[in-house]
Subunit: 200 residues, 4 copies
DNA sequence: GATGAATGAGCATTCATTCAT
DNA sequence: AATGAATGAATGCTCATTCAT
């Protein structure tokens, strides 16, 4: 009448957190369900009570990442104040968000490569990055309207800025010695003024 | 040396090329030795005459990529003329190099994530990117000395520029609709002058 | 005995009925305890309050089938009137009994194959069929004594008659388009007179 | 240049034979691929060089059985002489064929129950038995035309005769003490003349 | 050199059964 | 009594690697 009670959502999150730690450590390809279960402190079979397959766990990690990103983009887009200041804040927020959840960030290394022919992971990474670029492009357009960016900046420049952010993250993922925490400043500076500087 | 005998090196290259096509298509994790052999038009077992293991093929692809990159960096560093012009040329060259060998470039998606705990692939991606940053940093330092970059630009800005380049490549790898061929111009412009523009 | 409490026996029967429907649909091998529980409208664990194992449910189905058959055989043996008429009636009764409980009948498909090496199901199907043949043989012997069957009919002919009945059932189980309901007549006719007919 | 040579067909047959022995012994459901491989004296993985899945082995057994049966039916249909004699011969041939390959015959126990909802085995057992009945019906029709069977015998009587044959096999499969080898005679006698006998 | 048949370790997934509540 | 979350043994199938020819 009063069966064992569990918070399904919490348990699922617990497993996802464990999986993210494992994926971060060994990469998705080398991560066995058994590793995930062990990290979560449960039995192998129990993982399947919360996730239908190994791939589904990766997809859940992707969704966590994508929705965190969407929240940031949403914030930047709906904020008030000069567009360039909001772009600057977005850059800082993205880097801070990444640095705050480094294990989750490392899953990006597996996510970027997913969605190809045989892997059963149609994650629509492409669409996520498309939204990312669109948001930055919107900020740039606003900045141009405000006279704070040169006219004509658009999709291409948005791609460069998104690239710069993600490229910094990439380098930190490849080499943790890259000081991600100190990159927001120069990143924003270069994107806004270039290396020649405001008055070079 | 008999005309019947295929050059060992050529045969190895033939297999590597085939592998790169397969890896590009399905990702390294989903690529079977048999797929590679079939793509190369040889038998599965023959692959092992030229590569000791599946991972070694990936390592060979990495080396091809890394040495191409080194050649580019070498060129930029040893070139003459203003440093900033050479940085601009380097950006264009890297993108052109990527666009010229898109299959090889796609292997980056697998390479970036390699070298973790369980995968037997100590590729030293980190060191390669370190050299990349060092080269760009050297160019920046020279530019600063030439009065073409604001004083103080250094490692951090180099990280941003390398990030911008690789981040653009990343976006194109994720979504081939990203026009990699048209990105050199805005990439250089943003890195050099920012989105505010030369005279914003 | 409280009105709230369901009768143990009734609950067991409810589960068995559900199991029979599930077994009929998917076969025993493909039937999960969870399917049975769902069909019965109870929880998975509750099944084990009434049956010790998955196999035990199949055994219970066997027993239902076997005792129904025994009842029929008993009736034919203890009946009065000419033996051949009672054999004729038995044939009709068996087919009617099968047709009246088609789901239970389908379990035969799993039962026939059970009792082998690894399946933990020593059902003694063999003995049941032995009793079946013995009953028919007894009727035949009586008929011969009554001058209604040719002398010498015995175990072999009983096997043929049991075979004809069960073989018709088998064909209907394999292909439901076989009109089991219309087979009693020709079945009795062939067994009694052959295809040459009474006066061929 | 001269790789290890094997007769693929012979090897496949060797595995199938081994599988049939294992299926006969333990039933298909309880037969593991590893059992089959061990019985064949090869490694587990090697089985998959010749069969795509466990089910495919069962299907191959079915096909062997079905084509043997088809050969027999073909022979009976295309034979010369009185139809009833050919039916008589068919009955004997089927029993002899079964008795000659008892392991293969035991697979029938698994085949009869296959093809249901969840088992991924659309073997068309129904169609095979349909052809079986059609052949017997054709012989009966001919016999009727020849005045050797009573007019009106048809599909129903064919079902009974097929049933009698298969039902005898069934009983022998359930209980090997049933003397399949001695059943041809009484089987033919009953089917042709009934238990009342030619002149009862 | 080349081949491709054979191997067997490895792993995702399933599911009967248990038991804390 | 009833539940259903948890377990972990079991097993189908894959595929890198080996090696006899």
């Amino acid at each position: 009448m009063s069966p064992r009670r569990v918070d399904k959502t919490a348990r699922r999150q617990q497993i996802l957190d464990a999986a993210v730690r494992v994926f971060a450590r060994r990469g998705f390809a080398a991560s066995r369900i058994e590793d995930v279960a062990a990290e979560a402190g449960i039995a192998k079979g129990s993982v399947y009570m919360y996730f239908g397959s190994r791939e589904e766990i990766l997809r859940a990690a992707f969704e966590a990442l994508a929705s965190a990103m969407d929240r940031l983009l949403e914030g930047a887009l709906s904020g008030t104040g000069p567009a360039l200041a909001r772009l600057d804040a977005l850059i800082r927020d993205v880097l801070a968000s990444i640095a705050a959840a480094p294990d989750l960030a490392r899953v990006l290394l597996d996510l970027w490569g997913s969605g190809r022919d045989g892997d059963g992971l149609p994650l629509d990474m492409a669409e996520t990055y498309g939204r990312y670029r669109a948001a930055v492009a919107a900020l740039l357009a606003q900045a141009a309207a405000e006279g704070e960016a040169r006219p004509g900046v658009g999709e291409a420049e948005a791609t460069v800025i998104v690239g710069a952010i993600e490229g910094c993250v990439l380098q930190w993922l490849i080499d943790p010695r890259v000081p991600i925490g100190e990159l927001a400043e120069p990143l924003a500076a270069v994107c806004l003024h270039g290396v020649r500087g405001r008055d070079a």
